[in-house]
């Protein structure tokens, strides 16, 4: 085995790996630095744990839905690179939201509230943005305005949408137009606010706002086309039992959404639709409001008493499915407990990064000095091995950051720094083995080979324990512990790679050199200093 060992081949393999990683890490047009965690660049991290109200297990669908609602809200903040991830599953699942950079302090409240779905009767409706007075008053196309009917009714007739009258623009304090615009009654400045609201510029359409179902609300349609004054909610999301998208049984234009109420919801819906169907447009409409935004505002054709209804309106399949989703999951029975909130300013993040790097550099320097002083020439090999390991690790950080979204956190940096010592330990095990062999009276070249055979076993066993610890930690923990475990595991693997392909090869190569065999004290493998007497000296 030792005879067939070709150090040059190992070195070439190592070089190929390094060059490959470098090319991969520095593909043009991609990020060329490791992704930094939140604690290193500032931002907010919120860890939420989903809990069902009745303590039942959370189904994967519920979790997916919760995550997608949260993701919508986070996207609503308009922060680039905000992340929503899920760790764990079932009852131990955690939703981790990270929002980099400076963020508002109210984000947490907006995240943790479950989506609010309300059914509000429409009081007034108008175009989303002010219409120039000289333009002709357009009528909303009847084919797209949705209508709701009892599911028994086979052919629902879409009701024409009310014709809004363009109102003159009024200016009010913009602060009053911050969502949600709510009031307990319609007196006061509510009409002015409604007139002044421009859905094109308002933040309302971003959603994510929690409205009080007991108050009146001014809101916009999601696409900004219409704005509404809405009465307090008649029904809330929990009154809906199920909602499915489907095609009308008789065929017809577009998809529809079938609704089924709970017993309680059916009663409320009956009362509500009785009033609505008797009213004139636009007051025969109700608005489906999700997180403060009007998703749809169907007109009611007739009282719906059975607790089943269809919403029609030439929906595309996607629109129908989206609406059904909103209705079904809009108000999830899932509550979100806030486990941990961390807000770190970018300055502090930069400080932590700097401290981490300085600590790492300083630690590396100390280890290098110790290795050089103690192992001399072998120490130089160790230092180069450490550098190769460091380069490998750094490149992996970049690649993994892009590939699997690995982010380097402070705990991760700590893991990497601790790994410096553990990596160097492998070299020490090897070097001490070589020296042991020399003490046995073997020649350097032989010692390098037999020493490796023995050291290899120890290095593998010891590294295996490290990797085992890292793996267990990674799979059974959440948050910063994971980051640490991941780095520790990664660096241990790199350590094995470097020890096998680089350190051994270099030591084997230089063991052939005359100088290393010269017995100079600087080689670190001087037989005399290792207690082996040269024949001539014994006789001195």
């Amino acid at each position: 085995m030792a005879k067939h060992y070709r150090p040059v081949r190992s070195l070439v393999t190592m070089a190929v790996i390094l060059v490959g990683l470098t090319i991969w890490a520095f593909i043009p047009g991609k990020d060329h630095a490791p992704k930094l965690g939140l604690d290193l660049r500032g931002g907010t991290q919120v860890i939420l744990s989903p809990k069902t109200g009745d303590g039942t297990a959370i189904t994967p669908e519920q979790l997916t839905q919760t995550v997608s609602i949260i993701r919508q809200r986070v996207d609503g903040f308009g922060v680039a690179e905000a992340q929503v991830t899920v760790q764990g599953s079932g009852s131990s699942a955690k939703i981790i939201v990270t929002i980099p950079g400076q963020t508002s302090r109210t984000i947490v409240d907006q995240l943790k509230t479950t989506a609010q779905l309300n059914f509000r009767p429409v009081v007034a409706v108008d175009y989303g943005s002010p219409i120039p007075t000289d333009s002709p008053t357009p009528t909303a196309s009847t084919s797209t305005s949705p209508a709701v009917s009892a599911s028994a009714t086979s052919s629902p007739t879409p009701t024409p949408s009310p014709t809004p009258k363009p109102s003159p623009s009024v200016s009010v304090d913009p602060a009053l137009l911050a969502p949600p615009i709510q009031a307990t009654d319609l007196s006061g400045n509510f009409p002015e606010l409604f007139a002044a609201l421009d859905c094109a510029t308002s933040k309302i359409v971003d959603g994510g706002v929690v409205d009080d179902p007991k108050k009146y609300l001014i809101s916009c349609e999601k696409n900004g086309s219409y704005k509404y004054v809405l009465a307090p909610a008649d029904l809330v999301g929990t009154d809906i039992q199920s909602a499915t998208a489907g095609l009308p049984p008789q065929g017809g234009a577009g998809w529809q959404v079938e609704l089924k109420m709970t017993t309680e919801g059916a009663k409320k819906f009956a009362t509500s639709t009785q009033t609505l169907s008797a009213a004139t447009a636009p007051q025969n409409q109700f608005a489906i409001v999700l997180d403060g935004v009007v998703v749809s505002a169907p007109a009611v054709n007739e009282p719906i008493l059975g607790g089943s209804a269809v919403i029609t309106g030439s929906f595309t399949v996607d629109e129908a499915k989206a609406l059904a989703q909103v209705l079904k999951y809009g108000a999830l029975p899932i509550g979100l407990d806030v486990d941990e909130v961390q807000q770190i300013s970018p300055t502090l993040g930069a400080d932590q990064l700097r401290a981490g790097l300085i600590a790492g550099g300083f630690g590396l320097l100390l280890v290098i000095l110790y290795l050089l002083l103690y192992y001399r020439a072998l120490g130089i090999v160790a230092v180069f091995s450490l550098m190769v390991a460091a380069a490998n690790t750094y490149l992996m950080f970049i690649i993994l950051g892009r590939g699997i979204g690995f982010t380097l956190t402070l705990a991760g940096i700590a893991g990497a720094i601790v790994a410096i010592g553990i990596t160097a330990d492998s070299f020490i095990i090897y070097f001490e083995r070589i020296r042991d062999e020399i003490r046995e009276g073997k020649r350097l070249r032989t010692s390098v080979d037999t020493g490796w055979t023995r050291a290899r076993r120890t290095i593998l066993a010891a590294d295996f324990v490290s990797i085992l610890a890292a793996t267990v930690l990674y799979f059974l923990s959440v948050g910063s512990v994971r980051g640490f475990a991941f780095t520790l595991g990664l660096t241990t693997l790199v350590d094995v790679l470097v020890a096998f392909l680089f350190t051994r090869a270099v030591v084997t190569r230089i063991a052939n050199s005359n100088w290393m065999n010269s017995g100079s004290a600087m080689t670190g493998v001087c037989p005399e200093r290792l207690g082996v007497a040269k024949a001539s000296e014994v006789t001195q």
Binding site: Q343, G363, I422, I428, A461, G531
Partner: protein, 362 residues
Amino acid sequence: MAGLGTLGNRLYSGEVSYNIVGRRKLWYSVSAVLLILSIATLGIRGLNLGIEFKGGAEFSVPVATATDASIVQARTAVTSTGNTVSSVTIVGGSTVRVQTAALTSEESNKVSAELAKSFGVSESEVKVQLVGPTWGSEVSKNAARALVVFLILVALFLAMYFEWPMAIAGLVALGHDVLITVGIYALSGFEVTPASVIGFLTILGYSLYDTVVVFDKVKENTKGITSGSRMTYSEAANLALNQTLVRSINTSTVALLPVLSILVVGVSLLGAGTLNDLALALFVGMLVGTYSSIFVATPILAQIKERQPENIALAKRVTAKRKNSPEAGDNLGAVLVGAPIVHAAGPRQQRVKKPRSRRSGK
């Protein structure tokens, strides 16, 4: 350095031998005292748990220079919002850290705004951490689960790679390290945060790493030992310990240096934080870990092995042989009294030492 190297040679050859295994009662007593102290302080004082485990809110305000007046100032600021302060500490001389009971995010916004105003910094500079009451118990639950799974896996690995007595000895040493580290935390009142827990868990890995290295040498030295009568299992184990002593010192030093650097840099640049919590736990744990792999794991291993019939028989043979020829095996550490013992030079140690001045090197 050269001194350590020379010592290494003499330790390897057996020229110098520290009788570690033979004096196990001494090490056991030292460890027993430490363990009793640890358990007692844990019981009496308990651990100083960070807010991650208690639930609550923590605000860190950066200031130019933190003085006692800052503490009063911070208290006043928080109290003015109608919330009660549970502690105010100065961290690293330039950060005021305020902890309160659990707050809603609305309350916490008020507190951080008030603190920012009071200390004249922008609100975004205030680091806020809110922790729900169940988070800490979950972190601990996860850690405990990780610990159990790890112990089972590692026991299986050690039993397969080495043998059961080694697995048992390794795990005893591991438990010893974690208990004493936690005890030191209880005694010193260092705050226990999730980062410290990471540290504790890492000690598990490291402590075993060290033990594996020593046991590997013990395994090598005791291979086929029962067929001969040169030395007892304890003696072979002790020789292995001595032969790996320099390596243990070197690996531990090299592992501790970066940790030490995190501690020093962390404290001087950042004050308390993830880095220090982690490094402190590691530092204490690695020291204890190195101690235990030498002074606890191997003596326990030797004790277990000496009870096995083949090793009892071996011990009898060795004693009998030495009675017949008192000189034999002497250089292998047969007569183990006191430390260090410099044995009469055996055949392999017959080298004439040059005076220090004439030796090569420094």
